[in-house]
């Protein structure tokens, strides 16, 4: 049956799908919702899937669903009861990333530096470093040429290094 075959192909990549959605949306509740949406959407498209690289195929759908949700969220940011807008604000270190990088919280410092990157850069780092995808697969997921993936990855890493260096400098002068 269609559903069973789809489950066999797609469910092994559920963690990867959730990881990407988590990092894009920076909100576990919205991420769960988006992944569920994306999986059902993928089921609809499953007949068009040609059987090569299910992970990239699936993550592309998750990524597009997440971007649609983020666009929708920006549209309703003024809504006072919008829990997503609140989460976004909390997840963003704001104008003082150094404050987030001090003390013993080394793990969360890098975490927060990555979370503060623009989404187009953040997704490249997540797909490369956490999912260990090739440039070609990242290009497929994000819908840009491999050269753009390389430049975005480099920009992202430059920014992460700069945040780390600034924090180190501040520590030394303190």
């Amino acid at each position: 049956m269609n559903e069973a075959e789809f489950a066999r192909v797609a469910l092994p990549h559920l963690d990867a799908a959730y990881t990407l959605a988590r990092w894009l949306l920076r909100d576990p509740v919205a991420a769960e919702d988006v992944v569920q949406d994306a999986m059902l959407r993928a089921l609809t498209y499953f007949a068009g899937f040609r059987g090569t690289n299910a992970r990239a195929w699936l993550l592309q759908i998750v990524r597009n669903t997440a971007y649609a949700r983020m666009a929708q969220r920006r549209g309703v940011q003024e809504e006072p009861l919008d829990p997503d807008g609140k989460h976004e604000h909390l997840a963003d270190p704001g104008g003082d990333p150094e404050a987030a990088l001090q003390g013993a919280e080394v793990v969360s410092a890098l975490h927060r530096a990555l979370a503060a990157l623009p989404a187009e850069l953040r997704e490249c780092v997540v797909l490369r470093e956490l999912e260990e995808m090739s440039y070609r697969d990242i290009a497929r997921v994000t819908g840009v040429p491999a050269g753009t993936v390389m430049s975005r990855l480099f920009r992202a890493r430059q920014m992460l290094l700069r945040i780390g260096r600034d924090a180190g400098a501040k520590e030394r002068t303190a």
Partner: protein, 261 residues
């Protein structure tokens, strides 16, 4: 690659090193071929700046790897999807099908996150069954998926649903009026199994979803993703006809049902 070289060279980096930066990165990412690796190695021997960048990038990758692990999808999400994708393996259909879908979420734990996720999920399935029906219709249009039981005989289609759902949907054939019955299918809408009767009008397939519910007998037309959705109720059953057929002929189809006894 124009994007690569145009957008990020930090001020003061010699042109030769700008070229090397992407090679350093590609090397660390395991994307560099042997020839380029040799070129890079030669450059790194002579350039302290690029050698330092290589160390920094390698260190950063190591830390990202060590500190940021892929996250496991919540068990509630996995269970919800497994239930949705494996209807055959699920328990026999029960009247509480809709609640059954939410049960995994509730057992996941208590707290604000759960309340919030329920708030996000409930209205979607509750308020927009038409969207799900259209999705079900589109899925069924894929080759070989239109019907689980292919028959133009209502006396074959109707008993096929016995034991597969907990109600007996009315099955009619309108071949004389130009809407021949093609077969039947089991679909999952709002987390519960729903009978879908499949008809054709010329080349247009029509899915008629039927489930026990009260509602207005008067047909109401709606469109979703370019598909017409016509809904009405009769004898304690809710009907939704979904098709790319034009609205007028779909309304004719509904009138046949309403006039039938």
């Amino acid at each position: 690659m124009t994007d690569a070289t145009a957008s990020f060279p930090p001020a003061g980096v010699p042109p030769a090193c700008e070229e090397m930066q992407l090679l350093i990165q590609a090397d660390l990412d395991g994307e560099l071929d042997a020839a380029a690796t040799a070129v890079l190695a030669a450059h790194l021997r002579d350039c302290a700046g690029c050698a330092a960048l290589q160390r920094e990038l390698a260190n950063l990758s190591g830390r990202l790897h060590a500190e940021l692990r892929p996250e496991a999808a919540p068990a509630s999400l996995r269970r919800a999807l497994e239930a949705r994708l494996a209807p055959a393996a699920a328990a026999p259909p029960a009247p509480g099908g809709f609640r059954r879908r939410l049960a995994p979420l509730l057992s996941f734990g208590a707290g604000a996150a759960i309340a919030a996720s329920l708030a996000l999920m409930l209205p979607r399935t509750g308020a927009d069954p038409d969207g799900e029906l259209v999705a079900g219709h589109i899925r069924a249009l894929q080759p070989g998926h239109l019907t689980d039981v292919a028959s133009s005989d209502q006396h074959t289609v109707k008993p096929w649903f016995d034991g597969r759902i907990d109600y007996a949907p009315p099955v009619m054939d309108f071949v004389a009026q130009g809407f021949p019955l093609v077969g039947g299918r089991l679909d999952y809408i709002g987390g519960r199994p729903v009978a879908a009767l499949v008809y054709r009008r010329d080349k247009h397939p029509i899915d008629l979803f039927v489930w026990p519910s009260q509602g207005s007998a008067e047909p109401v037309m709606d469109t979703r993703n370019g598909y017409n959705v016509l809904r009405w109720a009769r004898d304690g059953m809710a009907f939704r006809a979904v098709s790319d057929l034009n609205a007028k002929e779909l309304a004719d189809f509904a009138r046949l049902w309403q006039g039938a006894s």
